[in-house]
């Protein structure tokens, strides 16, 4: 009774975990990487002299009737490098014998049932070792199918199917979305098998990584095959999550809030290192769930990040969200997710290693953003801001705040950088409507005397350049003497630009009255709107 040629021999582990034996009690080292090549039935002691390496030594009831005969069989198995000793129908004598099995490092299997029946069943498994592996894969397929698409359930099914194996679902950037972080730890004597999980659109969604101690040649193939069973459910899970997110943008918005909220409330800003157990605090479980959903949506979770904030012009329209999402998606994966946040749309993406060395990631992001916004379409005019880089996920919230604030300062159609908003943007951010009245009151004498607006414009430029007539003449494109004359008129009207008490209020009033919110920045008088 021996193995058929060609295929890899059955291992003891396979026999025990997925073989034809039931109710097995194992003494000695069961986790051994031991191959079983044949079954030897021993009914008398002299048969022990004929053992061969790889034999599963099955003792008949009479041969196993005394502890000492079992001990002699263990010894003979050890001397001949046999795989294991099998005793059917324990008579309760294996206590002291089990210690010898441990000592010699030979597995002693105590099996219910008749010895010859057990021998035939082992021989059948030895003859067709692939049947055991097929049984394992079949069992795994059943478990994965029963688990549905939730990653935690799928990973749990994988752990059940693969004994003594750690499996983790990780994002492309390496964070654990579900499973055991131990799968990622390099340990001596372990092997790793990785299977890619594609997103519904074929992009890289996640990876399944299994780590185990090699049991037998070909075991890694079996592990790979079992991991492969989980790919389709996980892709389906991502599709489901994305569909839900697209159908209802509020869900993504809520998820972003959840992620930011959890980062704020649950200590460490790093993504969870592994799925929390049932005893973990609720916050930990919330956190793990939020990160798993974020993974399904393909959200970047590893910094450094650059952050976008986008605002369509005009009042919100029902179709604005879908149109913007479509426009955003056309920008490619570099655009990142588009999520409603703080009254505007925000997005973020991880900056690659190229950008980390030497290049300005925010400048690249700004260029990318201008490209996306320049695409013609039915969308209203878009105003956008770029912020960053945010080194870690923990800093994402602050960077989003920066981008949203910079967007508030940006003029319509403009793309601004949160790190470079200048004085003109501060001034532009003033509540013009509210200041119109006071401004007109302050500059009433000038406005009354000024028919064509030149006097007001000259006052503004003089205040912009610090009261120097030569610089103002250059800026206004007139002769210096003309500026000096207008300055005299202004002084005559009681509105001297050099008066310290009046300088700041008059400067503000000029801005409020002169700046046209819809005018391009370079059309405003005085220049200096954008230092970039």
């Amino acid at each position: 009774m021996s193995a058929s040629g060609g295929s890899l021999p059955l291992t003891l582990v396979e026999l025990l975990h997925h073989g034809p034996l039931t109710d097995v009690t194992v003494h000695g080292p069961a986790g051994r990487d031991t191959q079983i090549t044949a079954v030897r039935i021993v009914d008398r002691l002299d048969a022990l002299n004929a053992l061969r390496p790889g034999d599963a030594v099955v003792l008949t009831a009479s041969a196993a009737s005394a502890a000492w005969t079992v001990e002699m069989a263990l010894r003979a198995a050890w001397e001949h490098a046999a795989a294991c000793v099998v005793v059917a129908g324990d008579g309760g004598r294996t206590g002291s014998v089990g210690e010898l099995a441990e000592r010699l490092g030979i597995a002693l299997l105590v099996v219910e049932g008749d010895a010859l029946d057990v021998a035939v069943r082992i021989a059948s498994a030895v003859a067709r070792p692939e049947a055991g592996r097929t049984a394992l894969v079949a069992e795994a397929a059943r478990a994965v199918a029963a688990a549905g698409v939730r990653p935690s359930a799928v990973l749990s099914a994988l752990h059940g199917a693969l004994p003594a194996t750690s499996v983790a679902l990780t994002t492309p950037s390496g964070e654990v979305a579900a499973g055991r972080a131990a799968a990622l730890e390099e340990k001596p004597g372990t092997l790793r098998v990785t299977v890619a999980v594609p997103a519904p659109n074929g992009e890289d969604l996640a990876r399944l990584t299994a780590r185990f101690r090699p049991r037998a040649a070909g075991w890694d193939d079996t592990v790979r095959e079992v991991l492969g069973l989980a790919v389709a459910p996980l892709t389906a899970w991502a599709a489901t999550e994305r569909l839900a997110a697209e159908r209802d943008g509020h869900e993504a918005a809520q998820l972003l809030l959840d992620v930011l909220d959890l980062l704020g409330t649950v200590g460490s800003g790093a993504p969870p290192s592994g799925a929390p157990g049932p005893g973990a605090p609720q916050a930990e479980r919330d956190r793990a769930g939020a990160f798993a959903r974020a993974t399904a949506l393909g959200w970047p979770l590893r910094g450094p990040f650059v952050v976008y904030a986008v605002r369509p012009d005009g009042p919100p329209q029902p179709h604005t969200g879908p149109l913007l999402t479509a426009r955003w998606a056309r920008g490619g994966p570099d655009s990142g997710p588009l999520v409603a946040h703080a009254g505007v749309w925000v997005s973020w993406r991880g900056t690659g290693p190229d950008e980390a060395h030497g290049r300005d990631p925010v400048a690249d992001a700004e260029r990318h953003l201008r490209g996306v916004l320049a695409v013609p379409g039915r969308l209203p005019r878009l105003t956008a801001a770029v912020a960053g880089p945010a080194p870690t996920l923990e800093d994402l919230g602050a960077a989003l705040d920066d981008a949203v604030a910079a967007l508030a300062l940006a003029r319509t159609g403009e793309v601004v950088r949160a790190d470079r908003t200048g004085p003109a943007h501060l001034l532009a951010a003033l509540p013009r409507e509210a200041l119109q009245g006071p401004a007109r009151t302050l500059l009433e004498p000038v406005l009354a005397a000024d028919r064509d607006g030149t006097l007001l414009r000259t006052l503004a430029v003089l205040l912009d350049v610090g009261g120097a007539p030569s610089a103002a003449a250059l800026r206004l494109g007139v002769h210096r003497n003309t500026v000096t004359a207008r300055l005299e008129r202004l002084r005559g009207l009681g509105r001297d630009p050099d008066d310290p008490a009046l300088r700041l209020p008059m400067h503000l009033a000029c801005r409020v009255l002169l700046d046209d919110p819809d005018a391009p920045p370079d059309a405003t008088a005085g220049g200096g709107t954008d230092s970039g």
């Binding site: 009479s62 005394a66 502890a67 000492w68 001990e71 010898l100």
Partner: protein
């Protein structure tokens, strides 16, 4: 052969009461399980016969009367019964005379069947009473329980014709047993009070010499010359290991059917229950030693490997005083030495092993131990 005695210069020419005392002590060294009352009875018996009839000449094996009839004598039955039904003193003579009648000639020497102390003492009493010399040797070289378990039988000599003389005055003779001696004699013993003296193996000296283990009587006398370890050393035991008893288990027994070389067994002849004694070696490889005992220790395993087995005599010695410890008295926690006294080389042939294992089929030893 390590354990086989030979005729030596220290052997006495004849056995005096002083030799008897030393022999009695020396023969008991290896047999921890000797029934004390039976021992006292046979010792008194032999001493009385020596007092009455004078010293018994001790005949070296090579001086066996070649053509003269030699008769082996042994106690049969339960030794405990000996103290309950005391001997009349006539039993040995009547048994020898019955065999002489069957053979048609007078015996010229008496030989002990084996080295059991009662058997040697009975043989001395017989020789004194009959006025015959005692052969310095026996038919076994050790103790085995059955009448056929002798090197005489191994050499081709039947125990029959034999005679059984009982304390009740009966004499039963068996002329041709065809290998059923034990089956025939055992019921007779039950019928006659539990014990008797058997005279058997009545063959010419030259024939018996082929089955004789020479020098065992002189060896027992030498062993009794001193107390403690020197006496034990006479038997040249090999030390197997030293350790602490960790468990004493009831064993499943059932040895007979495993070894094809084992003769068909008769467990009824081995009354005590099979027992396993587990010893953890406290030196060297620190092996787990398993001793399987049934009446005597049948085999010793070290981590499942055979250290020794019958027909060699495996002994548990108390480490404290190096006295032989009866298996029945082995308890967990005791520190012991395991030693083996090798049997005569003829027992190690295939037929010899098979005969010695009658009643229990233990496997043959293949491991070497260390000499004490």
């Amino acid at each position: 052969m390590t354990g086989t005695p030979t005729d030596g210069p220290g052997r006495p020419g004849s056995l005096t009461p002083d030799h008897l005392r030393r022999l009695a002590a020396g023969a008991r060294v290896l047999s921890a399980g000797t029934e004390e009352s039976a021992f006292r009875v046979t010792l008194d018996w032999a001493a009385a016969e020596l007092d009455a009839h004078g010293p018994v000449p001790l005949l070296p094996a090579h001086e066996l009367p070649g053509a003269g009839l030699c008769v082996a004598v042994t106690l049969a039955g339960a030794t405990a019964a000996l103290a309950e039904q005391l001997p009349t003193g006539e039993e040995p003579v009547r048994a020898v005379r019955a065999v002489e009648r069957l053979r048609g000639r007078a015996a010229e020497a008496i030989v002990p069947l084996n080295t059991a102390v009662e058997n040697t003492l009975i043989a001395i009493a017989t020789a004194a009473r009959c006025g015959l010399p005692l052969v310095d040797g026996d038919g076994c070289g050790r103790v085995l329980p059955l009448l056929e378990q002798t090197l005489f039988a191994l050499a081709g000599h039947s125990p029959a014709p034999l005679a059984l003389a009982t304390p009740g005055g009966d004499v039963v003779t068996v002329e041709s047993a065809h290998g059923r001696v034990e089956d025939l004699v055992r019921p007779l013993l039950l019928a006659c009070g539990g014990w008797g003296v058997v005279a058997a193996y009545a063959w010419p000296g030259a024939d018996l010499a082929r089955g004789l283990v020479a020098g065992t009587v002189g060896r027992a006398v030498a062993a009794g010359a001193d107390e403690g370890e020197p006496a034990f050393a006479v038997y040249r035991p090999r030390r197997l290991c030293r350790g602490r008893i960790v468990a004493v288990e009831q064993s499943a027994g059932a040895y007979g059917h495993l070894d094809p070389a084992a003769a068909s067994g008769d467990d009824a002849g081995l009354p005590s229950r099979p027992t396993s004694v587990l010893v953890d070696e406290d030196e060297g490889l620190r092996r787990r030693i398993r001793l399987e005992a049934h009446n005597e220790i049948l085999l010793a395993l070290a981590d499942g490997a055979l250290l020794a087995s019958v027909p060699d005599q495996i002994l548990i010695l108390s480490a404290a005083d190096r006295r032989v410890l009866d298996v029945e008295r082995a308890v967990p926690g005791m520190v012991v030495e395991i030693a083996v006294v090798e049997a005569d080389v003829r027992w190690h042939t295939a037929r010899g092993r098979a005969l010695a294992r009658a009643g229990h089929g233990a496997p043959a030893a293949r491991d070497e131990g260390r000499s004490l």
